[in-house]
């Protein structure tokens, strides 16, 4: 069975709430992580990403100055950043379907609705480490492949012309947000 060695990863937490940062750091330390960087707003998060070169980013949505979604757009710039492919796990109190979809379309890798649990957090990290997805670049999107499952009964138009990425079977973001504590 695959095990994640958290001690070999560097994490960046971007959240304006001091208490949430402390909770996240405590959980990550509990998993075995030692290398955890923190930023308290989007600007600090961008600096932490650029200078700290983290392996995984935890990102809050609601923050002053510029928010989590805006920070994702800055990170997912192919060619402009050291690692535009960095896995981004969005941790947020937003639980509406439209929000999950908006976060997915901005290029997040995983979504975890607050209140967070140790199990839910571990599962998200496990997913990005053990089941990495290819990236898709189109005229309007750059981010992890949003197709997590194949639907054999789908009868709509093929929106990707000229071939499609292999789909790595995973539970969809919305289903995860709905079921995993």
């Amino acid at each position: 069975m695959i095990h994640i060695d958290f001690n070999k990863l560097r994490f960046l937490i971007v959240d304006d709430n001091l208490h949430m940062r402390r909770i996240l750091r405590t959980l990550l330390h509990g998993f075995g992580a030692r290398d955890v960087i923190e930023a308290e707003d989007g600007a600090g998060g961008l600096e932490g990403f650029s200078q700290g070169n983290p392996d995984i980013v935890f990102l809050d949505w609601e923050m002053p100055i510029f928010d989590g979604l805006e920070l994702i757009q800055m990170i997912r710039q192919p060619g402009a950043n050291t690692n535009p492919f960095v896995p981004i796990i969005m941790l947020t109190g937003h639980t509406e379907r439209t929000r999950v979809t908006a976060a997915r379309d901005a290029g997040i890798t995983e979504f975890l609705a607050k209140p967070i649990s140790a199990k839910g957090l571990y599962q998200r990290v496990f997913s990005v480490v053990a089941q990495p997805r290819p990236f898709i670049k189109t005229a309007s999107y750059f981010g992890p492949d949003r197709r997590r499952t194949t639907n054999a009964s789908y009868t709509g138009p093929e929106r990707r012309r000229g071939g499609a990425a292999d789909t790595i079977g995973q539970v969809g973001l919305i289903e995860k947000a709905r079921t995993v504590a």
């Binding site: 095990h3 909770i23 959980l27 509990g30 392996d55 209140p115 898709i136 670049k137 492949d145 990707r160």
Partner: protein, 194 residues
């Protein structure tokens, strides 16, 4: 330094998109064998438990922050900055309350978030309804040791939610597509305590 072939993404180009397989820099953390007796989730839960003695104080601080944001709205009125401050305070409480051991506080905080977020003209948000939400949140925290707090909190929350829904229906009556989103159920049960 020359870049190793494995450090470069592989790119397959199609008619209107590219499929990119980035270098997997996280594989360094994948181990096939788990240290005997090591349960990372249980260990993290235990570490979180070590913070539990601080949670009541943290909840009080979040309530104080919410109250300050409410006072600022009362003094300066709704503007982008005061609205955002109030929304973020309520949103933080919504997300943290269950972790802090106050799950009954999350639903009224969620109701306040909906009121702020989905009212198209913020100047029409009734301050009295804001006050009722903030006071309910603070009261539930203050009285959380009462034996009947669950029933009291649920009754309060249901009433706040009903009044808020009625207000939002009216304010969004000409925006059916928005109203559909506003009234859609949350993906996550708002009063879960796990």
């Amino acid at each position: 330094m020359a870049q190793d072939r494995n450090d470069r993404p592989t790119v397959a180009t199609y008619a209107d998109h590219e499929v990119i397989v980035p270098p997997n820099r996280l594989k360094k953390a994948v181990a096939v064998t788990k240290p005997a007796g090591f349960d990372p989730v249980a260990q993290a839960e235990e570490a979180l438990e070590g913070l539990a003695s601080e949670f009541a104080d943290w909840m009080d601080r979040e309530c104080a922050k919410l109250d300050e944001a409410r006072q600022r709205v009362r003094m300066e009125g709704f503007a982008d900055e005061t609205r955002d401050e109030l929304f973020r305070s309520a949103h933080d409480i919504k997300g943290e309350a269950a972790t802090f051991g106050f799950p009954l506080v999350a639903p009224p905080a969620d109701s306040l978030c909906r009121l702020i977020e989905h009212t198209p003209d913020m100047t029409r948000i009734p301050l009295e309804l804001v006050d009722q939400h903030v006071d309910a949140i603070r009261a539930i925290v203050r009285e959380h040791a009462r034996t009947d707090i669950e029933q009291v909190a649920r009754t309060l929350t249901r009433r706040l939610r009903d009044v808020t829904d009625e207000f939002l229906r009216h304010e969004n009556r000409d925006r059916p597509e928005i109203l559909k989103i506003v009234m859609a159920p949350s993906l996550v049960p708002s009063d879960r305590s796990d």
